[in-house]
Amino acid sequence: MLKYVVRRVITAAITVFVLATVTFFLLKLVPNGLFADPNITAEARAKLYAHYGLDKPVFEQYLVYLRNLAHLDLGESIANPGRKITTMILDPATGNGLPQSMRLGLCALVFSVPMGIALGTLSGLNRGRALDKALIGLSLVGISIPSFVVATMSVTVFGNILGWLPTTGFSTPKEMILPTVCLSLNPIATIARLMRTSLVETENADYVKTARSKGLKRSRIVVRHQVRNALLPVVTILGPITASLLCGTFVVESIFNIKGLGCYYVESISDRDYGLVMGLTVLFGTFLVVANLTVDILYGLIDPRIRLKR
């Protein structure tokens, strides 16, 4: 197991490095129109270039970028002069940025994973019956309706027409309900569908027939023999789902006016704040890698075949 984890960690580190490199050079390829404003004099422009270190050769810039990255220093924001990007992302003072996104993401994650697994199990156990068909229909809806439609509709219905729930912010429990639910629908549907398929597959597995031949109760067969084996493929998709939920979401954050990373990302692109774009991209990428790494390790915990392989 230790060897397995070490190998995974090394692979993950290499992936992050490649990601950082590619992001850097891709952004260098974008025509740098940041200081192209005709109102800026050549002298001022040169000063700005020097300030952000853009006057040096590209390769030197790359080395500086890497060294700073290693110290978790993402440089200075261009759109917000004087503010460190790292501080903007973490923002301990206001709690905006990453902490805000993570709160929203965690809520959605905690809500959607058990929900998805439970619904998928319920559906799989009632295969072919009305309940199963209804759940399949619902999950199809959950997957196909984009989140901006769900979000705007729920704002209209629950916020404006019924007036039950607030539609902006994310600090009080009441404020948390709508964004969490809107963000969760898609992952719930994805997890439920996968769980259902996977559970139905175990229904025909030899070991389930053995379990029945042992005279075990159906509930025990489902919980101990089927669900655990059916969870394996589900765990695989938890990685990307976790990463996408925790790293902020453009649509839900924008619609509910939550100052999270998704919000920043959208703003940084329209502001051409390349430092911030670069920092957020690397952060998202790292998150994805770490989430997948966690899943790999989790996989080992659930599936002894991986854990004990030498």
Binding site: Y207, S213, K214, G215, K217, P304, L308
Partner: protein, 411 residues
């Protein structure tokens, strides 16, 4: 001899879409107490489906039991509710499957898979204690019967058995024995997790698994093929069932390990006084150990009889074909192996007559049209038109062929 299991006229079909195929077409057989009954047949002849249907284990849908009775200890298993049947499965009739690698749960420790079965069946509830006390009361003052009962129901043995017998006899002499017996049973029968684990270790040791203390916490993929099958056997025997269905228990194994496992199985079965249905496609496997043999073909029994009868007084052309097809060491090398030409019939297009008619060397006109009736001589049954008085001529040919085989065997 007393019949332990009596299966009458089983019919099982499989549905796919609108079509349905009959996999078992009126099969009857029985298993006596403490007997090894072998069911032999080619792949697809319905051996596994038939035996699994007896415990209603086939997946349904697509499988469907269309009719038949399965009498076991005075009850028709087909008429039991699912929860009643759960108490029979594993506890009174258990199954050993062919490929232990897939038949055991890959994500569960070996020990847990055994203990969950013990805890399911041998944990005593208040209702169980009450029911058991009811059984004991009529045994008043008969230490022998009490001891038997204890062996069967509480698995007492050795010193423990003597102690238990004394204790129970003591209670039975009292005026109002019911209450104390229930209390005693609850205490005696409370199977804790730790006890179940100890029992699992003992079971693994009994199937000759080295270092059972360590093995119990391992997973099935960490074991070799023979070891896996031993685990499967230990599990199937854990609740001391009265009947074990061994579904090709050695097919997935090496030839050398095969004999070892079969010996072990036969030995354990004999020591427990359990009966066994041994399913195989290899007549050679059962030659030495089976008491009776049933030969299946196309979802029916073609011939049933004692081992002796099947091997030396063969009645059915199919059985004869199987016997002739057994490889022999005494014949000159290089000669072609004898085979039965053709393939087993497609279940979708079963001949309306005898299922074997398409491949039978002695096939007559009637064979293709009508199903042969079952004929019986002292428990040796056969389904073949050769035993109709009008087929005397054809039967002579068959007898001559049989003679040739046996002369060769004797030489």
């Amino acid at each position: 001899m007393e019949r332990l299991l009596d299966v009458r006229d089983m019919r099982v079909s499989f549905r796919s879409g609108k079509t349905s195929v009959e996999a078992i077409r009126g099969a009857s057989f029985h298993v006596n107490e403490k007997e090894i009954m072998a069911i032999v047949g080619e792949s697809g002849s319905g051996k596994s489906v038939l035996t699994q249907s007896c415990l209603r284990l086939i997946a349904s849908p697509p499988g469907q039991i269309d009719g038949g009775e399965v009498w076991f200890c005075g009850r028709d298993l087909m008429s039991l509710s699912e929860s009643q049947l759960q108490r029979v499965r594993g506890r009174e009739i258990s199954v050993i499957f062919q490929d232990a690698m897939t038949a055991l749960n890959p994500t569960m420790k070996i020990g847990d898979q055994i203990t969950e079965m013990l805890l399911q069946h041998l944990r005593m509830t208040r209702a169980d204690a009450r029911a058991l006390a009811e059984e004991i009361l009529p045994l008043r003052e008969e230490p022998e019967k009490i001891a038997q009962w204890l062996q069967r129901n509480l698995r007492s043995s050795g010193e423990r058995l003597a102690e238990d017998t004394v204790a129970l006899s003591g209670f039975l002499r009292e005026k109002e024995p019911r209450g104390p017996i229930e209390q005693w049973l609850l205490q005696r029968g409370a199977y804790t997790r730790a006890q179940a684990r100890e029992e699992a270790v003992r079971l693994l040791a009994s199937v000759k698994i080295p270092d059972p203390q360590k093995r119990i916490d391992q997973y099935i993929f960490q074991c070799s093929g023979g070891m896996r099958q031993r685990v499967m056997i230990a599990m199937a025997l854990s609740c001391r069932p009265r009947l074990v269905i061994a579904d090709e228990p050695t097919t997935a194994l090496d030839v050398t390990i095969k004999a070892e496992i079969l010996d072990l199985l036969a030995q354990l079965i004999r020591s427990l006084g359990t009966s066994i249905i041994l399913i195989t496609h290899d007549l050679g496997t059962v030659a030495s150990c089976a008491d009776r043999i049933g030969v299946m073909y196309g979802g029916q029994f073609m011939e049933q009889g004692t081992s002796r009868e099947i091997f030396y007084e063969t009645l059915h052309p199919y059985t004869l074909g199987l016997l002739q097809a057994m490889p022999r060491l005494d014949l000159p090398r290089g000669g072609a192996l004898s085979t039965i030409p053709g393939n087993p019939p497609n279940l979708n297009r079963m001949p309306s007559g005898c299922p074997f008619s398409t491949r039978c060397r002695y096939c007559m006109a009637v064979c293709k049209e009508q199903q042969p009736p079952q004929a019986e001589w002292n428990g040796h049954t056969v389904r073949c038109w050769l035993y109709d008085p009008r087929a005397a001529q054809q039967k002579e040919l068959f007898d001559a062929e049989k003679e040739r085989l046996h002369v060769r065997n004797d030489a």
